[in-house]
Symmetry: C2
Subunit: 388 residues, 2 copies
């Protein structure tokens, strides 16, 4: 049985350079606008100037929440929510990658409540309304532009936590591949690892029955990332590559692949620990963890699912599942660490190995974590050591 | 460039036998409900009794629009709209296949206007509101449960015409594969041909650039239909087969594959002529036309796209595009006429060849029709002769 529900209210506008609908739709929600962004990158590509000019020309009151960093902090969300309340913000325009959009989505529900961000993320407070969010994606990978989730970090508590609420679906997301031409090779590679990890860790490698249609679609998406990732890294202005990655990113985590499976995405949860402690880029963390987790859980029960991916995506032909699964892990490692040139080891990232025990406890909440293979804290430590 | 916009507001509930949310959501829109259905089939499977009992128990006022036939008529839509206005219907519950749901969607916008159905379909009147529609799919193929379109036939004028309006997106569609267990082999086969025709005629075989990601997803969907169609025909209660076909059907025509291409779906338009004149089941008409259209337009310009599908879906390995394209048509014919046992010729369906000239004119509106290969009325006649 494959019971699931799916409802994606977000409107996607996929276009190259045409932002007429962007300004019209932002203004349709009001003239008190908060622009959320990170740092220099949207200024470097001229997008910041264009947006502020266009909205000023329409007599909008534009406020800014800038300096959103990767692994966005709850304190920044609280800053944004305060600004929204003080200025009666009517619409939030998030321009950036996953961190900027996640921050904006968290602001949207925090602003509508008389609460702090962390109380909402930890579900102490249930938001009942949200300020509309419109996004312009400038870095591809997280898929947040087409879903109802965000991931927020509490630096003080060293906790990075996902949060989902249907109020957080962006109203409209603008996907323009040309805006990603200037994304550096490293971030492009991290984005590819992130997309793959969404296909694999949150869907394909989940336990339980899988509808063959969706398995086949996931394999199609996997092949797309494998094919176009290295092209986008080598030729940053390759439209074909950027477009395919951009749409794959949105489709990979919008719920269409989930098939109703409700199991923890184990590698994501391990990665959240790493990011919370050491502020690692999420896609990079996933690239380091995913193949090592695969090696660790590879046995007679799991080999078939890994081998299936290897045959469909890496063109492997070994009929023995264990052999084929091992080659699949190898092919994935070559893709991530060689084709995409991502670092492969935590030690090379300056991460100490002193907190692994605590991380293992955190991942398992003191007990056991489900997924393709149930794991206890000691298993998590072993996997982290494989990553080290 | 792949500019497109996508927004699918319909909520999908995919489940086996659990209809608790169905009744709750229908009643959330009101207690004056119109049930739209065809004939005996929903009574035979006990669904009619269950629905009427459950809604009666909730003190709903239930009105019925029954006897919706395949190629639903505008007169039936007008009957339904009149009933809606007379009884202040608050929500329409459509239980059936594509014809029933198309009829209900047309009723929903006609009822909200002071106009006749045909004035809306022909765009003389623009509807501004619609009664909410909730669907329960009992025959798979058309994909109407997840899109904004309907196809309505004017028997008197011998015109079958498609119509799209965002007001017509169903609010919720319930997809329960077990409800399709009793669909006869012939209708199951027609549904499979319909799904394939949506993948091919409205997307894959369209002219213009195609995002590789979507091409690859379409091939995944094509393989799914080829794999599970014959299983569903041979084993009507095979849940796996019914589930895959049911979800493929919805995904094939919900806009996600379209990639912004705005060209006429030529085979669909030819088929609409056949159905308007001779009341043929749409999926069957598509099965007869599609391979013959492929043969007719197969040349150095089109062979590559046909061959690509053949290699990815039928496992063909010929490197020469023309050879491979010819084999692709052959493989498609074997699938439709042998594996699915669908009739292959118009002559065997009792269709005379006396109206082909007029049909050719109608398809081309007197001029030329676009698509992968622009065609004039004489071409349409030639294609129809190949089908005869």
């Amino acid at each position: 049985m494959y019971d699931f529900a799916l409802n994606i209210p977000t409107r996607i506008v996929f276009s190259s350079g045409n932002r007429e609908e962007l300004y019209r739709s932002v203004l349709s929600y009001g003239r008190k606008i908060m622009l959320v962004y990170g740092g220099r990158s949207i200024k470097n590509i001229g997008l910041y100037d264009e947006i502020t000019r266009e909205l000023a020309a329409a007599n909008a009151e534009l406020y800014e929440l800038s300096g959103v960093v990767s692994n966005p902090r709850h304190t920044k969300v609280d800053d944004g929510a305060r600004l929204c309340r003080d200025r009666d913000i009517e619409v939030i325009l998030a321009v950036g990658g996953g961190s900027v959009i996640d921050c904006a989505k968290a602001v949207s529900v925090t602003a509508g409540s008389a609460a702090d961000c962390w109380d909402i993320i930890t579900k102490k407070v249930v938001p009942v309304s949200a300020i509309p969010v419109i996004t312009v994606v400038t870095i591809t990978g997280t898929g947040t532009e087409m879903n109802n989730s965000c991931v927020i970090t509490n630096e003080e508590l060293k906790i990075k936590r996902g949060y989902s609420n249907n109020l957080m679906y962006p109203k409209i997301s603008f996907l323009d591949p040309t805006l990603t031409f200037s994304v550096p090779a490293f971030q492009t590679a991290c984005g590819c690892a992130d997309i793959l990890s969404h296909i694999l860790d949150t869907a394909y490698f989940m336990p339980g029955d899988r509808m063959e249609l969706l398995r086949s679609i996931m394999e199609a998406m996997g092949r797309t990332v494998i094919r176009y990732g290295p092209i986008a890294v080598a030729e940053p202005s390759n439209y074909e590559a950027r477009a395919n990655l951009m749409w794959a990113s949105a489709l990979a985590l919008n719920g269409i692949l989930k098939n109703g499976i409700r199991q923890p995405a184990v590698c994501h949860i391990i990665e959240h620990e790493l990011s919370a402690y050491y502020d690692i880029t999420h896609g990079l963390g996933m690239a380091v963890i995913l193949p090592r987790w695969m090696r660790y859980v590879l046995d007679g029960d799991t080999a078939g699912i890994f081998a299936g991916f290897g045959r469909a995506v890496f063109g492997l032909s070994d009929s023995d599942d264990i052999t084929c699964a091992e080659k699949t892990v190898g092919a994935l490692e070559r893709f991530l660490y060689s084709d995409l040139s991502l670092p492969s080891r935590l030690s090379s990232l300056g991460v100490p190995d002193t907190d692994f025990d605590q991380m293992g406890e955190n991942v398992c909440w003191g007990g056991k974590i489900g997924g393709l293979k149930p794991l206890v804290p000691g298993d998590i430590v072993n996997i982290l050591r494989l990553c080290y």
